[in-house]
């Protein structure tokens, strides 16, 4: 041993508490807790199981979209088509199931497959041509939007079979009623949190977002990985479509028109960097909850909804500023 060798006394790095305090989701989490504390003080109705259950129901559709959006943003991409793809999926599933063309579960499977197909097409265009994700998904947004209106004839689809509305039903948890859909959405977050943090696939996603060339030189098949990510994101939008149907109880061709921006808002508020390679779906869950808590709290306080939009906008700009500054500090 020479004197230049430094012993490895500290293999695990900083303590658990320190790591939590410096974790990328610490900021968003603190913001969420502060917002909850603030609204609890301002209104009596805020702090109740029933109200939290409501918030989760309100954010679960955008939250599910944010899971897929996180995957794309982690690669330094962006997906503007997510809400429109979800809307098409929901109309397709609702209409096929309501008209009885196919059994409800087959309609669900077909809907999920079509949403994944939209994602796959996005991925192929982004990777093989190649084209900027912003443009590809902007085009796909319009395609899916138009197809939704053509396919639905501008008609809302009602009288859905119970298989499609089941996710909107509740079960009691303590003194609160929780929907099965909320559980599904949380399960989606859990699944992708696991995949991203604990599998080699997840590590490859982060490496790709850091530097596609470095990932390639390390033997990661970046083309396949990217295309797969877009397809998986599409599939996740299909799950969001199921949640959407269960929440509204109908197939609505007008649904989801601002959800693409709302999902980006949630992802950015959750601390995921638009430059790729850093962030988490857990952060996006927190981001979605921040939006939901603000909307809900301000509403309970009697603030007009246009101010809710205003405040969300300010929050997003703040979050992106923090991202940019922290990136500069690293260089």
């Amino acid at each position: 041993m020479t004197t230049s060798t430094v012993p490895y006394g500290n293999l695990t790095g900083p303590s658990r508490l320190r790591r939590l305090a410096t974790a990328p989701i610490a900021g968003p989490l603190a913001a969420l807790v502060l917002a909850c504390a603030f609204f609890s003080l301002m209104t009596d109705q805020f702090l109740s199981g029933g109200n939290f259950s409501l918030i989760i129901q309100q954010v679960m559709v955008v939250g599910a979209l944010a899971v897929g959006q996180t995957l794309i943003i982690l690669t330094a991409g962006i997906d503007l088509s997510c809400g429109a793809v979800m809307a098409f999926g929901s109309i397709m599933i609702a209409k096929m199931a309501a008209e009885g063309t196919v059994p409800p579960l087959v309609a669900v499977a077909l809907g999920l497959a079509v949403c994944a197909g939209f994602g796959l097409l996005n991925g192929l265009l982004v990777k093989l041509i190649p084209l900027p994700p912003f443009i590809v998904t902007l085009g796909m947004l319009n395609v899916a939007f138009a197809l939704t209106h053509i396919y639905s004839n501008e008609q809302t689809v009602s009288d859905l079979p119970r298989a499609l509305t089941f996710l909107g039903e509740t079960f009691p948890l303590g003194d609160t009623d929780v929907t099965y859909g909320s559980l599904l959405a949380l399960g989606l977050f859990g699944l992708f949190a696991y995949l991203l943090s604990s599998t080699s696939w997840g590590r490859h996603v982060y490496a790709l977002g850091n530097s596609p060339e470095a990932a390639r030189l390390n033997g990661i098949r970046t083309g396949r990985l990217t295309i797969g990510l877009y397809a998986i994101a599409g599939l996740v939008y299909g799950v969001a479509a199921l949640l959407l149907i269960s929440r509204t109880g109908v197939g609505d061709p007008q649904a989801g028109q601002t959800d693409n921006l709302d999902s980006i808002t949630a992802v950015v508020l959750g601390g995921t960097s638009l430059f790729g390679g850093r962030g988490s779906v857990l952060g996006s869950l927190i981001g979605a909850l921040i939006v939901g808590v603000f909307r809900n709290g301000l509403q309970l306080m009697g603030v007009a909804s246009i101010y809710q939009t205003l405040i969300t906008g300010v929050l997003v700009i703040l979050a992106v500023t923090v991202d940019q500054i922290s990136r500069k500090r690293i260089r």
Binding site: M1, L11, G13, G219
Partner: protein, 279 residues
């Protein structure tokens, strides 16, 4: 090149060509690496050194030419192919994932999975074992770092270089390639990288070292491959030439004569300016 005939080269290339549009980055280059040697590859900026190295390590596919590994003709379909054959590369820009920690970077693209169904079914990576093995490799190479859970972007240039070198050395089974590993480093850190190269050679692995730094090259190389305008200009022993002669060969002022013992003046004015004359 009398020594080249005694042993089968570990890597040998003949007539490599790589074009990028109108730019011919590799223009009929030959290459030979013998077992156990440190081969320095030198040449001006833009001579095509990095392109040559990328062709030899599967990072780009040459348009023409033939590569042999231990005498067998081989075609790499991507860097993972070369890695599967035990060729490890420290690329000029390091190819690390900045936001990921040191241990994750050491195992990037070949993560260890947990034993049992956690690994085989749930595909769960074994973070603890990767950290331990990364620490063992670092200790083996006498590289001191405070914590292996630090993101690479928080490290100094020299530490990042050390991580990239350690990764290559840890995985290499037949060759280690380093593209300008000391270019961004201070004197002390450069010295540490040169020490590392010696330790790799002492393990019996041949090393290809691309460098601009003549003192480093003369300190460590067994042979020098001089690259000029996309091809090999000369393959020489440092003991046969002075540093200024080698620089003159690199810039085209001198050319090596037929049997590799001496030089001939190719460009009278340039040779004079460089202060080199044969004999």
């Amino acid at each position: 090149m009398s020594t080249a005939t005694t042993a089968t080269p570990v890597i040998q290339a003949r007539g490599l060509v790589k074009r990028y549009g109108h730019v011919t980055a590799i223009d009929g280059a030959d290459f030979d690496l013998l077992p156990g040697e440190v081969l320095a590859v030198i040449g001006d900026n833009g001579a095509g050194k990095s392109s040559l190295i990328k062709a030899l390590t599967g990072a780009v596919t040459p348009d023409e030419g033939e590569i042999r590994l231990n005498g067998e003709v081989i075609r790499f379909n991507g860097p993972q192919d070369a890695r599967a054959h035990g060729i490890e590369t420290v690329y000029q820009d390091l190819a690390v994932a900045a936001s990921m920690d040191i241990a994750s970077n050491m195992f990037l693209g070949r993560e260890l999975l947990r034993p049992g169904p956690l690994g085989s079914v749930l595909r769960m990576v074994d973070k603890k074992r990767m950290r331990e093995e990364a620490a063992a490799h670092m200790a083996d190479l006498k590289i001191g770092l405070r914590s292996l859970t630090q993101p690479v972007e928080t490290l100094s240039g020299g530490q990042r270089q050390a991580v990239a070198v350690a990764r290559a050395v840890a995985w290499a089974r037949s060759v280690v390639v380093m593209d300008e590993p000391t270019a961004a480093l201070g004197v002390k850190e450069s010295g540490q990288v040169l020490d590392l190269i010696r330790r790799v050679r002492d393990k019996g692995l041949p090393v290809i070292l691309i460098s601009h730094n003549m003192p480093h090259v003369f300190e460590i190389a067994d042979r020098i491959h001089v690259h000029r305008m996309g091809r090999r200009e000369a393959l020489i022993k440092p003991s046969d030439y002075s540093m200024s002669e080698v620089v003159a060969i690199m810039t085209g002022a001198l050319t090596v004569d037929g049997d590799g013992g001496g030089t001939v003046v190719a460009d009278e004015a340039a040779a004079k300016a460089a202060g080199v004359r044969p004999n």
